[in-house]
Symmetry: C2
Subunit: 734 residues, 2 copies
């Protein structure tokens, strides 16, 4: 079987073997086969401290468990690890051996090894959940026992990511509230980012999602290291803003740990970007000291205030001014400057124009560098921004009843770029202190703008919609174009209800544009939550082809209207006969004005002229302007050779893109026409559409890219603050 | 050489040969070869009446012309045709033989054959113009001699279409004014439709184009049987309206002969569709009696009056009512009914409502059927149409100075369908009695509408432009798309001048739309004949890419502006950085309104508010609506197999078409928006666009299809006569 060089070694081995081998050949009915003998001798040689029983278990020779010598060593712990044969059987996952040991050898179930581990610990380390199950049936002593590292078998399973072991342990009533070195088992699962284990614990005991570890008072969400883990908890309803003993939220932790994706998930699930944590620091304070510009942008975009003071009276801007690395400091301060933040410590008496001469107070902990003065910022700017950014909601739903004039809100199409509209609306709501729903009498929207118009109608907050958009994009824009429309439709049904009709809510009046493409030329259709004005002029076509009339508003499902308006060709398949409204009215302003005029004319014709209110303000919000780029050549020419032909195909594609761009351009002439129209009839017209630094697609899914677009929107709001202020004044006029 | 059956025949032949052969072998230096001998004997046998000289000429054996026997028969006419050997040489085109005959045989040049034909006649029938040239050098006697059919050699050449013979005859000073059976040679060339011959005569003697044949007093144009022949004469400047002795124009003749293509050429070159010819009949009278509905439509469309009386007091409508074939009669009367014509004889006392009770008077020639009453027509309709169709031009260029309000005319794009706009403008001009140029203060146009706007600016009559469009389409839309832009550019230069600038003519103010496609998104550019209003609002893009500023109006070439506005992608290549204005404003109304508003605002800003005139009337003319057709499916989906993939490609193409249609639809929302805008600011808005029965392409070249579109336009004008009347009243208001 094997050879050894030194005679002494051979002799020792012989003695060892002669003591260990007998039970095996004695209990065997046949002569031992060479293979088994080989394994046996190998085992004995590699584990010299093991008893025969250990060897028998490892070898899995069941016949010998009736042998007295084997039985006698059944509870032996005299080996290096201090483990019993039972431990080995558990680790090996050998259920049959386990049964033999329990039935014939009457082994003790609660023996712990040198490391304080029970058979349960060993079973968890093995691969066979059935063994764990068997163990659970026969013993309970070791189930919740901690090993020398303070880990219960459940902790161990969570650390190791063994989801099935977790399930079995929980079925055996393993306790979830035993404290390990990193908290309860749920926290261990979170710490090691084992999603399945955490899910298993929560599914078995839903309270675990809120359980705080006694050491830090941190919820599982605080322990989440990845976006996926955080999303899992949030989808299951954990409290996004729960605080640790120190007063920090999960957002604080994620910011401190520089976990950008985690931060995004938390923000999109409604984490308070402005929560004050330990030492009164907001996440923005922490992001500043981390020099993380991306994070700073994301936090500000999601509503973090730039002038909140911590317990030391420092604002985030002030923290930025203290950063030792000059380049980072300058970058951060310049960034803040674009939205009007001030690096000075607020509360100090500040004389206008002499800010640079001021000395900051000495902070208790450390010496502070001189605050840097942003010379391009003036005090009133900061005051404006501060006020604009402070939410002061006054939901006065009666306001609109008293108004003598109507206000119209128009929302462009643009897919996920609808986030820009949301950000603009949040700015307007904050500055006015009134919900969008109550600021406007008419809301028109195309595609993504249509969905937002419905969100306004259904009193969904824009901050909520911002989170929804960030969350939904990954689900909706999955795979390749055209995308499956299932997730989009599910989302719409979830938000607006599967059976909700357009006319279920009547104020404000809402219209969504859609393109009726069952005819040529295609026609605009408006999905309304009110009766369409009757038309007295001659129909466009004398002998109409047999076309189905559109659904009446009282029968029109809200989610279907949203889906129809947003059926952007090549992105989604058409919804029945409807294509995206953007083909005919990507900027719906002109058509909304036309509709309102016809509605009023209809009222007058019906003798209800007293109900007519003149439009006084139109606010048209865009989804961000792409930068203008020069085009070298848009040409379709006669190909004279294959190379030319290739260029033609390219030219045709370029041309196609250009035609689509012309067709759907929401700025340019659409705005010029609307402005001239409004000026001629004395309507105040506001077109708000931030210039973006890059061309963002309708189906962009990168958080960073979208955060940047929103950042540019914030900068735009700041730069156009006078225009916003004028708009707010007009909107608030009785 | 050959064998004969009967001995008597052989004997006769022998005698004949023996008398004819000697000169040949006597004058030959060698023994005659078998081949020559064979030809010789064949000739003698097939032309038994010929002399040896005739045979020698035909054989072309020059050696024998010195033989006395040959010389003696040099002027022999003793054969069936009565032709001399010279005649034969001429017909054979054998110049060398001709020289031999003249030099050695001293033949008479002016001998005529039995048919009265000279050597010149024979030469014309041959293939060698040099022979004719030689003849012309040596003789002149027979040059202008008529044969028994009354034809000079020149007549003969023209009849036979021998262009080169014509040239040589004319170089020999053959006379063009000798009367043949069908007039002068030019008329013969026309009668037999030999374009080259007619061109040759005209190029040698340009007066021939006007020469009338003494018999009918008809010009060559009267004789033209094909469109090509007529076009050739008209391009060379013949008088399209010249009359024959009977008083008929070429149009009368072409109509009588049912030559539709000829009729179209004559009409497009300005033939008077309403000329009174023999018996006072207009071409329309004649077309009626020919039952040719196509022709009737073409004539009416080109301005023929339906109520002109001939010398017997009959109107064309009355003629139609007399047609014996019921189906045709009904069809013609129904046709006339659609444009409001009356089959009753005008001048008769007609009581309203009792028209059907009237008996028509008996015509002198034949018994007449009862006139059919078109019950759906009322007298005032007819009066309206009559008045509307009677041109009563009052060119009062001072009118616009006195007006207190401005009028705007907007012309859509649509390629050759611009004819519809022309027809609408003609109707407005006829009804108002004022040229378009003086009816409007602003004219906006896209593509074809832009070209027409410039035509209006440059005082070109719409009837002229109608002819130009019909004539140009074949030149411009030649080959395959994209078409060569050369012919279009040549045409524009010819019409507007190669160096004419936009600002050369200042009234009315004209704007043409173009799409600046050197940037993305593309922008609208207006080509103006006035200074662009200065813009005070913020530019669309903050940091503009380095883009060339547009040309200033004073530097802008008119033809280039027209070309740029009309660079319809895939039809023509782009003109530099410009694409067709139709991409952004196929119906330019909204943009014209925007422009005028900005222009007025600019005036006010510059302290010239007193110059601002309010818009009171907008007339928007379309190029005809295509019928609405149902579309089964516009879908772009995920292909799962090759067949699906094929459908996707198809879907993408369908989609592309739909996007282009949405982008360029001049009706639909463009009209709804403009109407609402106008109603809101109190501008009278007129949208005139006939519904066409078929979808007509931008590059349609069929005369019949286009005539039909214009016919539908006429019907539209009649059906909307009240609207037109109201429009005219408004336009004529001071």
């Amino acid at each position: 079987l094997f050879q050894l060089e030194p005679e002494a070694d051979a002799l020792m081995n012989f003695q060892h073997y002669s003591s260990q081998l007998p039970p095996f050949y004695e209990s065997s009915l046949q002569v031992l086969q060479v293979e088994v003998l080989q394994q046996l001798t190998d085992l004995i040689r590699s584990h010299p401290s093991w008893s025969v029983t250990h060897v028998a278990v490892e070898l899995g020779v069941r016949e010998c468990f009736h042998h007295s010598r084997i039985i006698s060593y059944a509870n032996s712990t005299e080996n290096e690890e201090g483990c019993t044969p039972l431990h080995l059987a558990c680790r090996k996952g050998d259920g049959e051996t386990l049964v033999e040991l329990v039935q014939y050898c009457h082994v003790q179930m609660d023996v712990t090894d040198n490391n304080g581990e029970t058979a349960f610990h060993y079973a968890v380390q093995g691969d066979n959940p059935q063994v764990l199950q068997l163990l659970g049936k026969n013993a309970s002593g070791g189930l919740n026992q901690v090993n020398n590292q303070g880990l219960t078998p459940l902790h161990l399973a969570c650390q190791m990511g063994k989801q099935e072991m977790v399930r079995v342990l929980l079925l055996c009533n393993a306790r979830c509230n035993i404290l390990g070195p990193s908290g309860y088992p749920i926290h261990a699962a979170m710490k090691f980012s084992h999603k399945g284990c955490a899910e298993m614990i929560i599914s078995m005991d839903c309270n675990q999602i809120h359980s705080k570890d006694p050491r830090y008072g941190a919820s599982p969400l605080h322990w989440a290291k990845t976006a996926e883990m955080a999303r899992m908890l949030l989808k299951r309803g954990c409290d996004v803003n729960s605080t640790s003993s120190a007063g920090n939220t999960a957002l604080h932790v994620a910011v401190m740990r520089n976990r950008f994706e985690c931060v995004m998930v938390l923000l999109t699930y409604g984490a308070n970007a402005d929560a004050r944590g330990e030492h009164g620091n907001t996440p923005l304070h922490l992001a500043m000291s981390k020099d993380n510009i991306e994070m700073v942008k994301a936090l500000i975009v999601f509503g973090a205030e730039v002038d909140t003071q911590n317990d030391f009276g420092e604002t985030p801007a002030f923290i930025a001014s203290k950063i030792s690395k000059l380049v980072t400091r300058k970058a951060l301060l310049a960034l803040l400057g674009t939205v009007g933040a001030d690096p000075l410590i607020p509360g100090m008496p500040v004389e206008q124009g002499s800010a640079s001469a001021l000395q900051p107070p000495i902070s208790p902990e450390r010496a502070q560098p001189l605050p840097i003065n942003l010379s391009n910022l003036e005090l009133q700017d900061i005051r404006y921004i501060s006020r604009a950014r402070k939410p002061a909601f006054i939901l006065s739903s009666l306001r609109d009843e008293k108004r003598s004039h109507d206000h119209l809100l128009c929302l462009d199409g643009g897919g996920v770029k609808g986030l820009v509209i949301i950000q603009l609306l949040i700015a307007i709501e904050k500055a006015s202190g009134i919900a969008t729903k109550d600021l406007f009498d008419w809301v028109a929207g195309t595609s993504t703008g249509g969905i937002l118009a419905l969100a306004i109608l259904h009193s969904k907050s824009m901050a909520y919609m911002r989170g929804v958009y960030f969350r939904m994009k990954d689900e909706v824009f999955r795979g390749s174009r055209p995308y499956e429309s299932g997730p989009l439709e599910e989302f719409l049904k979830r938000e607006f209800g599967e059976h909700t009709k357009m006319t279920d809510i009547k104020k404000p009046k809402v219209m969504l544009t859609g393109t009726l493409s069952d005819r040529q030329p295609a026609e605009l259709h408006l999905f309304r939550n009110y009766d369409a004005p009757e038309c007295v002029r001659e129909p466009r076509f004398s002998q109409n082809a047999n076309l189905k009339p559109p659904t009446h508003p009282t029968e029109q499902l809200v989610w279907r209207a949203a889906r129809s308006s947003g059926a952007a060709p090549t992105y989604f398949r058409p919804n029945g006969r409807f294509l995206d409204g953007g083909l005919l009215a990507n900027n719906p302003t002109l058509d909304a004005m036309t509709e309102i005029h016809e509605y009023n004319q209809d009222l007058i014709r019906k003798g209800q002229g007293h109900k007519v209110k003149k439009l006084s303000v139109i606010v048209s919000l865009g989804t961000g302007k792409s930068p203008q780029v020069p085009v070298t050549c848009v040409d379709v020419f006669r190909p004279s050779n294959p190379w030319e032909l290739a260029k033609t195909v390219f030219g045709a594609k370029e041309l196609g893109k250009m035609v689509v761009d012309c067709c759907t351009d929401p700025d340019g002439r659409a705005v010029d026409r609307a402005r001239a129209w409004c000026e001629m009839v004395g309507i105040q017209y506001f077109r708000l559409n931030p210039q973006l630094g890059t061309d963002i697609m309708l189906d962009e899914v990168s958080d960073a890219v979208l955060v940047n677009a929103l950042w540019e929107t914030e900068v735009y709001v700041y730069e156009h603050r006078e225009q916003f202020q004028r708009l707010i004044q007009l909107l608030l006029e009785p």
